[in-house]
């Protein structure tokens, strides 16, 4: 079954890179929703059927951590699998995020790291190996 994904990042280039990486991974993608900050992301998650959220942390208007806190407080969204892709280097902050149940990926990232994280979070198998190497 195709997976509907919501990408939340204030950089349109980073959103495009993440989408490209997910497509490269061989995942059967359904709808891809995009948002430029946590508030827009929260709205998009509430208005659409989303199976997976991929979010940044440092964003204007509402940061990714606040968006995740609000998702966790919303019974409709609290169980939504979430991956954070960020430059965040503080172990303190990363551990705090992981305690909230999200998977953390550091930028720049290798495509297979995202593929593996999606596989672990969603349990979807049959995701092909990336035929491109390198990092983003």
């Amino acid at each position: 079954m195709p997976l509907n994904v919501l990408i939340v990042d204030d950089s349109s280039v980073m959103r495009a890179m993440i989408i490209k990486t997910i497509r490269m991974s061989g995942l059967d993608l359904g709808e891809v929703y995009q948002a430029g900050n946590g508030k827009e992301g929260l709205d998009a998650a509430r208005e659409n059927w989303v199976d997976l959220v991929v979010a940044d942390i440092n964003m204007p208007v509402m940061n990714g951590e606040e968006m995740i806190d609000r998702m966790k407080a919303d019974p409709e969204l609290s169980a939504l699998p979430t991956i954070v892709i960020s430059t965040e280097g503080s172990a303190t902050r990363i551990q705090r995020l992981e305690k909230k149940g999200v998977t953390f990926i550091h930028k720049p990232f290798a495509p297979e790291i995202i593929r593996d994280a999606i596989q672990d979070l969603t349990g979807i198998t049959g995701i092909g190996d990336s035929d491109e190497s390198g990092a983003f």
Partner: protein
């Protein structure tokens, strides 16, 4: 100039350009003002935490399309629009800053990084002069790219 921080800046910037955009760079200490001899774009970010400061990146305009198209996996003959080039540069500086600060302050330190801003060459040069004047302990790195160069400066208040 702080040599330790300058070496770190050089290492992180080169790694980021390679991993994020497949751009290979080489240290260049021959002419620190070389970047001003050609058209360049600036990008600036401020951070706060255990220490606060700012990071300024200057890159030759000639290198901007490759930076952007490589990040996006575009065809070689496609020229990304200017706003996309600026977005790519902001993201590159964001990644450099995010990877640099834990190396300076340790992984337990919590920093807040502001959204990077694009500066035209004149504004970037003014800011650079200010950093050099106000802060003798600044760090700098100059990288040679296939198309021009890339220069970084960091001010760190301890």
């Amino acid at each position: 100039m702080n040599q330790e921080h300058s070496d770190l800046l050089m290492e992180i910037a080169a790694q980021t350009l390679e991993q994020l955009a497949f751009i290979f760079s080489f240290p260049d200490d021959t002419n620190p003002d070389a970047i001003w001899e050609e058209a360049a774009t600036g990008c600036h970010v401020e951070f706060s935490g255990p220490s606060q400061g700012e990071l300024l990146l200057l890159i030759s305009n000639a290198a901007m399309p490759e930076l952007t198209s490589n990040m996006l996996g575009m065809d070689e003959d496609e020229v990304p629009p200017e706003d996309q080039q600026h977005d790519a540069l902001r993201e590159a500086l964001n990644v450099i800053c995010g990877n640099l600060l834990p190396r300076i302050g340790g992984t337990e330190a919590v920093y807040d990084i502001q959204p990077p801003e694009i500066l035209d060459a004149g504004a970037a040069r003014s800011l650079l002069d200010q950093i050099k004047t106000d802060q003798r302990d600044y760090a700098s790195a100059l990288l040679s790219l296939d198309d021009g160069g890339c220069q970084l400066y960091m001010r760190l208040d301890t």
